[in-house]
């Protein structure tokens, strides 16, 4: 008896040790990012001491008070939120369709949406750039440097992922519930609204959050397809790297700022992450 109790206690202690180490490992780079953001440029040249005693506020106030960066932030918020909403909406409809109807070639459709996410971005930049600037043109205005443009393009990798996540969850909602509602005279939309969405809420929440975070953090497409007006925070980060020296302090400050909304979301939905990520693989 005593042996198992000791073993249990050691096991417990072991788990705590593992997690404390894991937490330190996770937090150290972020801590360092914070330290860099709190130092002036000259201070960065001093030896890498790990403690930071004072705070160089201009690293934060300069970008945050500049109208350009405020616009970047606003753009990021709008683009990420709109894209997450759009993706969630489309994905719910699509997965419901895939789940309840025998659509011809559904396996291929499913697979084809996934391939959209597989494409290495580099070579697709040029066609997408041309699509936005030449093809999608109405008079003088094109999709280039617009928020709508980015919102749409982010669907290429957010939609497949969302469909994937939601498919299993919606598959897990018994079709009998639908049928019962139909018998009672409900339309498809009512079924969606009153039955599917509430039951799949954790999954939808996760889809929304993950899509939001991916859109918020995306760099390559945002850098290529925006110029002055629809620029996002992540592209703003790359601007700091110049021929005359990288302003690491401000870049770090902006990185920390861009971390906050994602952090906020994380704390809100951390309960649902685990259930949401089953990919419907395990039923019940």
């Amino acid at each position: 008896m005593k042996k198992t109790k000791l073993r249990k206690a050691l096991g417990r202690a072991g788990i705590y040790l593992v997690w404390i180490i894991a937490t330190l490992v996770v937090l150290f780079p972020i801590y360092w990012l914070f330290v860099v953001s709190a130092r002036s440029r000259v201070e960065l040249f001093g030896g890498p001491n790990l403690l930071q005693t004072h705070f160089f506020a201009p690293n934060y106030t300069k970008p945050l008070s500049s109208p350009t960066f405020q616009r970047y932030l606003a753009n990021s918020v709008v683009i990420a939120t709109s894209n997450a909403l759009l993706v969630s909406l489309l994905a719910v409809g699509a997965t419901y369709a895939l789940s309840r109807w025998r659509l011809k070639g559904e396996g291929s459709i499913f697979f084809w949406t996934i391939t959209n996410r597989m494409a290495p971005p580099a070579a697709f930049m040029l066609p997408v750039f041309l699509l936005f600037t030449r093809v999608a043109k109405v008079g003088d205005s094109s999709l280039f440097d617009t928020r709508i443009g980015l919102i749409l393009i982010y669907c290429t990798f957010n939609l497949p992922f969302a469909i994937w996540l939601l498919k299993g969850i919606i598959d897990g909602i018994p079709i009998e519930l639908d049928e019962a509602a139909f018998v009672d005279g409900a339309s498809t939309f009512t079924v969606l609204r009153k039955i599917i969405v509430p039951l799949a809420a954790p999954g939808i929440a996760i889809t929304f959050v993950l899509s939001w975070v991916f859109a918020w953090n995306e760099y390559l497409y945002a850098a290529t397809l925006t110029s002055v007006n629809a620029r996002t925070v992540t592209t703003g980060l790359a601007e700091f790297v110049t021929v005359t020296g990288t302003n690491w302090g401000e870049m770090a400050a902006l990185s920390m700022v861009s971390l906050l909304p994602a952090l906020l979301f994380l704390t809100l939905v951390q309960k649902y992450i685990v259930t949401g990520l089953t990919f419907g693989a395990v039923k019940g």
Binding site: I15, A22, N217, Y219, F279
Partner: protein, 286 residues
């Protein structure tokens, strides 16, 4: 009705997904470099692809990426599984640890690259400084290829292990307890329980997660670019970055497009094998 519900999705994906895709296929048949003496596109048929098959730089980039994937994704799964197992049972502070653990997933890849660069840049970063001060190790990612490869793998592990942990945790928590308990009663040891009961049961989640990680590892660009720029030399010039350098600085659009397609094909083949495995497993478990 079914088609009606899925139509918007298909339309959006067709416009922004299919059209560029066809254009890339089209360009891949041309020799198109912005700054060549003969401006414009020159039709060369499948010559680009023929060149690619023998292109050492391309093949090496592919091989490097596979190695990176093996070490990074492999470690992520081992670590992720162990961490997930500890999270199955309750303990004080579990929610806190789990939330903190998921932090790296929320940071922009370019910021992660920048952070790790700040950590590891020789002369100014804390890691080389303390490694040399306390252990006398000369850690320099600009000079030693092995250091750079290791750092990139570590960065990826730091970034993506939480994803694997959470997915596997999801799978583990949905497992029915009876088979596990039955097996323990029957005298099976830990390894046997894992191999014959746990693993098969969570296989669909494992495969799906693996699938996603493989896809993303083959596409990685921003983080690596920020951290090493592909260096030293071409040590960390993985296929995503390699294609980017061919298409952009080198402005070799035709060749870059062909390379992209070949890589996509390669990814699809790799993932198709995993995908069919998921599908067949899915049928098995149900």
């Amino acid at each position: 009705m079914g088609w009606g519900l899925i139509a918007p999705t298909l339309i959006v994906l067709a416009i922004i997904g299919l059209i560029p895709f066809f254009y890339v296929i089209y360009i891949g048949f041309f020799d198109w470099n912005i700054f060549s003496a003969k401006a414009g596109m020159v039709f060369v048929g499948v010559n680009n692809y023929r060149r690619l098959v023998f292109d050492e730089d391309f093949l090496r980039a592919l091989w490097r990426t596979l190695q990176f994937m093996f070490w990074a994704v492999g470690s992520e799964f081992v670590l992720g599984y162990l961490l997930a197992q500890t999270l199955v049972r309750d303990f004080r502070g579990k929610a806190f640890f789990r939330t903190v653990h998921a932090l790296p997933l929320m940071i922009a890849p370019i910021a992660i690259g920048a952070t790790w660069r700040l950590l590891t840049i020789p002369g100014f970063g804390p890691i080389p400084y303390y490694l040399s001060k306390w252990f006398g190790i000369d850690y320099n990612i600009g000079r030693f290829a092995s250091h750079a490869s290791l750092t990139v793998v570590l960065m990826d592990i730091w970034h993506w292990t939480p994803f694997v942990t959470l997915c596997l945790l999801a799978g583990l928590t949905s497992l029915p307890k009876e088979p596990l308990e039955q097996a323990l009663v029957d005298g099976a040891n830990r390894w046997q329980v894992f191999r014959y009961i746990t693993l098969p049961a969570i296989m669909p989640v494992v495969l799906t997660t693996f699938f996603i990680r493989v896809m993303d590892a083959l596409r990685v660009v921003d983080e690596i670019w920020m951290l090493t720029g592909g260096g030293p030399g071409d040590t960390t010039r993985y296929i995503g970055l390699h294609i980017w350098r061919i298409v952009f600085p080198k402005t070799d659009y035709g060749y870059g497009s062909a390379m992209s397609l070949l890589t996509l094909y390669f990814t699809i083949v790799l993932c198709w094998m995993v995908f069919t495995a998921i599908m067949s497993r899915g049928q098995e478990t149900s």
